[in-house]
Symmetry: C2
């Protein structure tokens, strides 16, 4: 039985590899035609997608999944419409494939061009939200990559339906149906077999919680670009404009607490701590934000009778709450702050608020995170906010793609060398 | 005992991580001073290095290692001098760290800069040649990365000596000694423990044979950039200049057969096969190149009484001989040739020889290899030949670094965002 599943997954990989070779040769126009056909197909088959989704929602309800999870799972005519609109937007973006990154000649006359090409076959492993099926497959198609998708078991019927109609769109434009393959099983072992299949999958992108990421990382033989958690931090310096600092902290914590670029920790310079903690307590109290404070911050905040106040434990400094909770620490100065960020942060998005250019440049230079901010909310770490037009997610890894991962990061390059008979002497 | 080794390796990793934070802040001038001090130190301690090397050579001789292996292992005053010269050359190269890759502003006033930064800690795992110890450590120092080195057991004493004097150079310029750490044990398990240590090592580069690469890939939790084998191929098209084709094939096969960018397979278009196989037999016969031929090529070559002739078996198409052996196949045309390259090649360096621009462009576009050549020897796949000044090796992977891997590929990037209080609304 296990061996059957393994062979089945291998067979999917092999088909994706074959499709990827054809897909890599498809021109921009043909790929865009396929995308537009996919959008049309999703809209035309909306009823069928919604009925598959209703089965998933019914099962999730019976299984007593949380209301938040069922909300993320549920599709509506409006959401299907948004998926189709998203696809049309990707069709309108520039195709990075074929772009010449750089080009030079050598003294021996060889002409070298470094050119963007598709990666090949990309495996995407994700949890529950069915619209990721469409987002991921479409971005990969645009960049000439075949996709092997493995979604969460809760949305299996929705995913199968969406993938089927995306495939119809692909074949309508003459692309191979196997350009987009959805693994149609909910068995956990499937993730392991995908991760071992480096012969057929060039890159795996896991998006999800710790257990999913760990399952992929511990088995993967091919490159993995993790879209993992964010423990983002704002440091309010002694030279901060405190009004601005308040605005940034409130935005980064409360505007959408359930996302990876929201902050989990606030560091405050001791010289302005009494003043700033008062301000921020007044702002966060009415928004029902629980504060988990180190000793110094706790003294200040308890004097202010802050209602939702607890003492921070060690693990608070490394926890992604994804909720209205904020860890607060008073630091000795900028070196202490940088040390905290480097030691406890997740290197996702971190910010200094200060009017001192020298302090800002020190922080920007010494904090080794994917995105480092001076006087702006960490919530801007996002493909659309960067102006990338679309994103496959936010990479929390350092290599190949770091931070918002868009079309360009779904390509690699090759060197093309044109000569007239050169051979090597030395 | 095993747990002791594991803790020891973990401790090395931790020290490298700490050093990497200081090293990342070092300016170009300080890093160059360190490199020049390393070169001076290697020369000053030449006697001590040669005496450590003599111990390795004595052991290797006693263990009856091949003459070729002992040659690779042996250091001479001239080789130590060349190592020092190599270091001085790296000091003279441009430092990629701090370079702005791109920069733009958003409508809300945010200024985004994408800036090159060190990767952090790089693990290098390699076999036998002691000069790799110096090459790898020096390129990593230049780019602000700490290095954890694990060399072959045959050269352990040479490696320990070289690493010690490189460290002295680093500290003389005020860089931390732990910027360069050599794992001083020959136990095999050390590779596994390094590969599992994703908390402290950001990237592992294995350079070596199949068993070494497999040990790293199967255990690694961090990104791996393999420097693996090359099954490079030349396709001689029907429209080839046959004199040029002969020159290229002879060069790519015989100029230095033991390296990864030498060719292992020759594909010949059937229309010119009788003529070209005669030419190439005349050229390769005197050089004692064994030919392993498919049926069609075998008929031709046996008519010519080619001396070192065998029938090719299936595995000849995927074997890296690293020797004066060449697999030869007659193909139906360019599609057949491309199909062979994509199916059996290693996607390292492949070449078409033709006077037809249309056929050339088809081959250059459809062959998905790190380097694809039109009318030039595959032997040019090399950092120095590309004009990169130095290389850590040739990546046979697709992500982050593909083909010659030089200073730029030893860096990553981060986004620096400067604002004036922007918060996100939607």
């Amino acid at each position: 039985m296990m061996n059957d599943l393994r062979s089945e997954i291998l067979e999917f990989g092999k088909r994706a590899r074959t499709a990827s070779r054809l897909l890599a040769r498809a021109g921009t126009q043909q790929k865009n035609q396929a995308l537009l056909a996919m959008a049309d197909e999703l809209l035309a088959q909306s009823a069928s997608i919604l009925s598959a989704n209703a089965r998933d929602v019914e099962k999730a309800t019976g299984d007593h999944l949380s209301k938040a999870m069922i909300d993320r799972l549920r599709l509506t005519p409006k959401r299907v419409h948004a998926m189709a609109e998203g696809i049309r937007q990707v069709a309108s973006l520039d195709d990075p494939v074929g772009k010449v990154i750089s080009e030079w000649s050598r003294p021996n006359g060889l002409r070298i061009s470094k050119v963007r090409v598709p990666i090949g076959v990309i495996g995407i492993i994700y949890e529950s939200r069915p619209d990721v099926t469409s987002d991921a497959a479409v971005l990969c198609t645009k960049t000439g990559n075949a996709t092997v998708l493995r979604g969460g078991s809760e949305s299996i019927h929705s995913n199968i339906a969406i993938a089927e109609f995306l495939q119809s769109g692909a074949t309508a434009a003459g692309l191979p149906a196997d350009s987009i393959i959805l693994i149609p099983t909910t068995e956990r072992e499937a993730v392991k077999y995908m991760a071992q299949m480096d012969k057929y999958i060039d890159l795996i992108v896991p998006r999800g919680g710790h257990a999913l990421i760990e399952a992929v990382v511990s088995h993967a033989r091919m490159p993995v670009i993790k879209h993992s958690h964010g423990v983002c931090i704002v440091y309010v310096d002694k030279d901060a404009d405190l009004e601005m600092a308040e605005r940034i902290v409130v935005n980064a914590k409360t505007q959408r607490p359930g996302v990876c670029n929201a902050i989990e920790t606030l560091l405050v310079h001791h010289e302005i701590a009494p003043l700033f903690l008062k301000k921020i307590a007044d702002a966060l109290g009415p928004k029902k934000v629980e504060l988990r404070a180190d000793n110094d911050a706790f003294s200040e905040l308890s004097t202010l009778n802050y209602e939702l106040l607890r003492r921070a434990s060690d693990e608070d400094w490394t926890t992604e709450y994804l909720d209205l909770i904020l860890a607060v620490r008073v630091v000795d100065g900028i070196d202490d702050a940088i040390d905290h960020v480097e030691t406890h942060g997740s290197h996702h998005s971190d910010c200094i608020v200060t009017e001192s250019a020298a302090s800002a440049e020190k922080f920007l230079s010494e904090v080794d995170s994917a995105t480092v901010y001076w006087n702006a909310s960490t919530r801007f770490t996002d493909g659309a906010e960067f102006g990338f037009g679309a994103e496959i997610g936010i990479s929390t890894d350092k290599l190949h793609a770091r931070g918002p991962m868009a079309l360009e990061e779904l390509t690699t390059y090759k060197y093309i060398i044109r000569g007239d008979g050169q051979v090597r002497e030395g």
